[in-house]
Symmetry: C2
Subunit: 473 residues, 2 copies
């Protein structure tokens, strides 16, 4: 008995989180240091890939060093080896600086570690998620019977939408799979949509060919082309199951004509999904909701809380107008799960064991609310306007006109290669921006995504652009 009690004590010492101990204090010191990095740190990785690889390889996985040292070395590796994408000066993709309230909520979820597979094992956590989903559906102008759930990210959310569409299109799909259809089921998305659709269609057993890419013009799906493709496909025996519009394309922040898409979906009786992973955050802003006009007619909607809502990754959301379709997709009976109300997440979602992902957005809403988000959006729109103004004044050519805070531009007449400019700027490490193809052109891409980005960061971006331009021309 003595020996067993001692064993428990030993193991407890190794595994415990001492929230008031030296390891936690060390973690907090690292986080304070990180907050300073965010305003002034070098953004590109400081080490080469080879240096990073060597630094990791030389650590001996059979010689543990204790929590405090392990934290220090891991943070050191990330600080020197990773891109500082959370920086105020990173004008990169849709990776925000994670917001404090969401990080703290996430910490609470990690420590308490509730299991959201069934509601009865974590009623508070599960109902908080349900409440957040209800609130989002309301903001989107959806009926009170709508629902949804959190996912690992936009890919899982979009994959869920495809399952809803397939189940809606064919009652035998669940049991027989794709074989239940009389011809190949297909889905429609614009050529500028997020090409995770290819992976999603493949993983759903539809194959790459099932993703029908509708031509886009200036980043937006062309409705006449959409119609004629559906009609031609029908003649060829293909079965349309879903139109997936995009609200906020990855390259240019463009929004497909949602109302027209809804119209076509109704006309052909197919599921209408909107991938609003980034721009969907604007449902929280009444003054800008009209940008998403038509979203109230979607059958399902993807939003990533880890994009514009500034939650740490991965916090995807799938909103579902008819939640019973999710039950059809994911229900299963076992001899070891407790009986519930038919809405347990393990029988209405893709995952089984389930982290309390929703606490991140819940904490944002309870801490700063939609007013807080509106201030963020105001700020990003203002900074984008400032950046557009300064880019134009400095002679750069702007390419997209989305109105949202993603700006595509290039050297006038494309004398200088956008990729070369981006590479050189990355190398200098003071700011960071992307390089994308848009409407047949290679463009520089600056996106407002960190709450920290201020006028001085815009000025620095302009200064870097001008310096590199001078150097390369």
């Amino acid at each position: 008995m003595q020996r067993r009690a001692k064993m428990t004590e030993q193991v407890t010492k190794l595994f415990s989180l001492s929230a008031d101990g030296p390891e936690m204090a060390a973690a907090l010191r690292l986080l304070v240091g990180f907050q300073q990095e965010l305003k002034t740190g070098h953004i590109a990785p400081k080490w080469s890939l080879e240096e990073t690889r060597r630094a990791i390889e030389q650590l001996d996985l059979s010689a543990p060093v204790g929590t405090e040292a392990a934290l220090g070395e891991t943070s050191h590796l990330m600080e020197n080896g990773d891109l500082l994408s959370a920086s105020a000066r990173c004008f990169g993709y849709f990776n925000p600086t994670a917001a404090g309230p969401a990080i703290l909520g996430d910490l609470l979820a990690a420590a308490r570690n509730p299991q959201l597979a069934v509601i009865s094992h974590a009623p508070a956590s599960a109902l908080i998620e349900r409440r957040v989903l209800g609130f989002l559906c309301e903001q989107a102008g959806w009926p009170a019977t709508s629902g949804g759930h959190f996912t690992s990210g936009g890919s899982e959310a979009n994959a869920t939408a495809l399952q809803l569409a397939l189940n809606r299109a064919n009652a035998d799909y669940g049991q027989l799979g794709i074989a239940a259809f009389d011809g190949p089921p297909v889905l429609y998305a614009s050529a500028d949509s997020h090409l995770a659709w290819i992976k999603i269609a493949r993983s759903a057993g539809l194959g790459t060919d099932a993703v029908r890419l509708v031509p886009a013009e200036v980043g937006r799906m062309q409705i006449p082309e959409l119609c004629s493709m559906i009609e031609m496909d029908a003649k060829a025996g293909r079965i349309a199951v879903m139109i997936a519009a995009t609200a906020g394309t990855t390259n240019a922040g463009e929004i497909d004509p949602l109302s027209e898409c809804a119209e076509i979906a109704a006309q052909f009786d197919v599921h209408f999904h909107v991938d609003a992973a980034w721009a969907g955050a604007l449902i929280l802003d009444p003054s800008r909701r009209s940008l998403l006009s038509g979203i109230d007619r979607a059958d399902s909607l993807t939003i990533d809380a880890h994009k514009w809502m500034s939650a740490p990754m991965g916090a995807g959301i799938i909103m579902i107008r008819q939640p019973e379709l999710a039950g059809q997709s994911y229900s299963v009976a076992t001899g070891y799960m407790p009986a519930g109300d038919g809405q347990d997440p393990y029988i209405t979602t893709n995952q089984w064991s389930r982290r309390f992902i929703g606490i991140r957005l819940w904490m944002m809403l309870r801490s700063i609310g939609i007013e807080g988000y509106q201030k963020l959006f105001d700020h990003h729109f203002a900074m984008a306007a400032l950046l557009r103004e300064k880019l134009t004044a400095a002679g750069w050519t702007l390419h997209n006109h989305t109105g949202l805070p993603v700006i595509l531009f290039s050297d006038p007449g494309d004398n200088l290669d956008s990729q070369k400019i981006a590479d050189r700027i990355e190398q200098r490490g003071k700011v960071w921006l992307g390089r994308v193809d848009f409407d047949g052109k290679s463009c520089l891409r600056a996106c407002l995504t960190s709450y920290l980005t201020g006028p001085e960061d815009i000025d620095l971006l302009l200064a870097e652009l001008s310096l590199v331009h001078e150097e390369l021309r």
Copy 2:
């Protein structure tokens, strides 16, 4: 300019994590309180579902209260509304008390928020994950060319295995989907396997019917039945693509005969997957690895670091013997992702945006190492032996003989209903255990899963069982 700078300041104040501020201090106080709960707290939810629902509904989502208050109220909701599954006295499913080093690593990942979609955006984080995967493959006795990645959980890992199997079985699957096969592709798992397989087959477009459940005896897949089912299915035109063995069934912790399964898979040339979500942790323990004998022959392997490895959810792992199969499943070309070495996670995994999930296990390995895990396993095996001994002495009938720390038992002669006993024990709230079907019997299920569980907790479980037995008989 003045106005814009002020706006930045305002937004920064709302969104910042002040790691040395009062909100963080409040979070730490809550965590210290939680650590006390873990040894002595009431385990069942203190509030009824209705009370929890009301408490959540009455919070006004249009009237935010600031981070400190929001944290306090959220923690209060979880403390009263959730099952305390992390408790030392929770003998429930495979939900551990999350370990300190993993929680701190997770916090670092949430705050720094690296984007692991492409290696060049987070080289250190991505290579740390690769290093952990390499280490795990080595422990499993796999060749150095093996690989894998982290997932949201076992479901995503198992779904990935199915994609590997389908791609391996048919070179045209990626492009044409299920239609590339000459007959319905099917997979084999034991009747006691985790029935997420049903959801997985459905989401892969195979349909429920594609999951061929092989009869189990005392929880283990029956090999002669497996063979005859594959042969009969082949005659009926079905195409075997995968045998999915289980190492550590959810109900009873039983392990399928892995070597025999590997043999059959080789004979029929199908993908051999092992779902070792729980028991796979034992690859870290040389003295117990023989329990998993045959795992070195698997083509893919699922382990959940959030089960026996005590990481916070969701931290699934899919290990892959031939990583190039993953590339076939998930590759895609876009105009906005940077060129990489062909191993970027967004083209070799199911997700796109990707959290640094692997930091949790990395931190465990660097902090306490496999020696630390071995102490945990020693402890759990010792506690399970003690519990078996005491249950037998107290006259309970044991049903499974896995040797692993999951114990199924019931009242002798089944005079008392297991569900009633479990319900009454839950209601009393001092300890918690599960109720499952096993080998045609309704059993109580006690699993050692928290590092905190000591001899005094075993004694309390026995005392509760005896008290409730007395009360109900």
